[in-house]
């Protein structure tokens, strides 16, 4: 004969619904947060990956620099290459205008992190050249 008041049962069910709704609200909030976090991470990951491959891929940068310095127009300029772990220093006490044009065209159109550079006119068609690239 011990029957539970249906109002209590109703109240319990209503409380259950409120509890579940609260949990669902929390889960929805987590989902929104997770989506935003994922979008942010994805954006940073893509950009960072692209930037690292552009400016920090030593192997790739060294290979491309070797190809540039081996070009026939540049090779004649006797460019000195001082390679270190953090980067490379290029220099030529005197090189002709044509070689400079070829070299600068290639270097500036590639993605090297040029930290310092100095080009000084020596005569009508000769210049001195210094450049430091870091990776």
């Amino acid at each position: 004969m011990n029957r539970i008041n249906p109002l209590y049962v109703g109240l319990l069910l209503a409380l259950g619904i409120v509890f579940l709704a609260f949990q669902l609200g929390g889960a929805k909030s987590d989902l929104k947060e997770a989506k935003e976090e994922y979008a942010k991470t994805s954006k940073i990951a893509t950009n960072l990956s692209g930037l690292k491959s552009t400016y920090a891929d030593r192997k790739k940068l060294k290979a491309s620099l070797r190809r540039i310095l081996a070009l026939s127009g540049v090779r004649q300029a006797n460019i000195t290459k001082d390679e270190k772990k953090s980067g490379v220093k290029l220099s030529s006490k005197s090189m002709d205008k044509k070689a400079l044009n070829t070299l600068m065209g290639k270097l500036l159109n590639s993605s090297y992190n040029i930290t310092s550079m100095k080009i000084k006119r020596l005569s009508e068609d000769r210049v001195s050249f210094k450049m430091e690239i870091k990776w």
Binding site: R3, P6, L20
Partner: protein, 324 residues
């Protein structure tokens, strides 16, 4: 006034020793008092005054089929009220009952019998329907069997009558359960409301499960992203690295843009670009052969290309400084 009839030692009420619970006879017209111990458990036999009964023959086999028909079988007989129904089969006939839970509960309450102390509730019809002669319930009322149906009649109508003795009564299986809250919400509405709430709960629960799975999937995808791009373990580190490389990228883009502008300048006859230098985040340019006042066309060209600069004259050369 509602009352419970009990008789002790040769009078009416008694204990069912087999079940070890006392059995009481509940009659709404009893005017005595009940002597029950606190929290004592009792079985209750309802007086015919507390229910409506019919003996019917129906073309159905099972009680469960009869139960569906009960409201319509009593439809034209019962006064207005909130009724519960019950039935049992005896030989080929069905005994069908209608009763008001609220009335019975009030009768119990008026005698101080708590619903928690009740073991089971029976109809007098099912428990005393085989009496051979009328039974006295009180000086005024007696139980009387006519055409197989037990009724209450004035004691004066019966010629020979003996007191009701419940001492050795064997109770049947035909007990009922009182709906204590039936008057608040009827069962159908209650089930409907409960079903709706249950459906809502299930919907919310399934939505919760789906949402949680989505969160887990995103978390997994994020881990895969870290592995694919070989990211550092914390976003703080990755953000710092991104800032560093983004800064380098902006500087380098700026350097190439400004250098292209400087190298593309149209110089007048005698004007020459002597030095082009990048140092400490600045681009320094030295022009020779540019006298004071003659640099205006270069300044104009630089401004047109959106290059901001500082300039100065030293002897016969013009110095230009651009922050990258």
């Amino acid at each position: 006034m509602s009352t419970i009839w009990t008789v002790k030692g040769g009078q009416i009420l008694f204990t069912n020793f087999k079940s070890k619970h006392q059995t009481i006879f509940l009659d709404p017209n009893f005017e005595g008092s009940l002597d029950l111990k606190p929290k004592e458990k009792v079985n209750v036999i309802l007086s015919p005054s507390l229910y409506w009964v019919q003996k019917v023959s129906l073309p159905v086999k099972y009680v469960r089929d009869v139960k569906k028909l009960l409201p319509s079988l009593f439809e034209d007989i019962l006064p207005e009220g909130n009724y519960s129904y019950s039935a049992y089969k005896s030989d080929d006939e069905f005994y069908i009952f209608a009763y008001e839970d609220k009335v019975i509960l009030e009768a119990l309450t008026s005698q101080g019998v708590s619903t928690t102390s009740i073991v089971k509730v029976y109809f007098a019809q099912s428990e005393l329907g085989d009496i051979s002669q009328s039974k006295t319930i009180s000086p005024d009322e007696s139980l009387y069997l006519k055409d197989g149906l037990l009724t209450m009649v004035p004691s004066a109508w019966t010629d020979s009558s003996e007191a009701l003795d419940l001492k050795d009564i064997k109770l049947s299986k035909h007990s009922i359960t009182l709906q204590q809250f039936g008057h608040i919400v009827d069962n159908k509405s209650l089930y409907k409301i409960a079903a709706i709430m249950l459906v809502i709960s299930l919907l919310i629960l399934s939505e919760y499960v789906i949402t949680s799975k989505k969160v887990a999937d995103i978390s997994k995808a994020k881990e895969e992203l870290f592995a694919k791009h070989k990211l550092k373990s914390t976003m703080f580190q990755n953000e710092a690295m991104f800032k560093k490389y983004n800064f380098i990228h902006k500087k380098q883009m700026n350097l190439r843009q400004v250098t292209a502008v400087v190298l593309g300048l149209r110089l007048n006859s005698g004007e020459k670009l002597s030095i082009l230098e990048v140092k400490n985040g600045r681009l320094n340019v030295v022009f020779s052969g540019v006298s004071k006042g003659k640099e205006k066309h270069i300044k104009k060209a630089l401004k047109l290309k959106g290059v901001t600069f500082k300039d100065s004259f030293k002897s016969d050369s013009w110095h230009l400084e651009v922050t990258l």
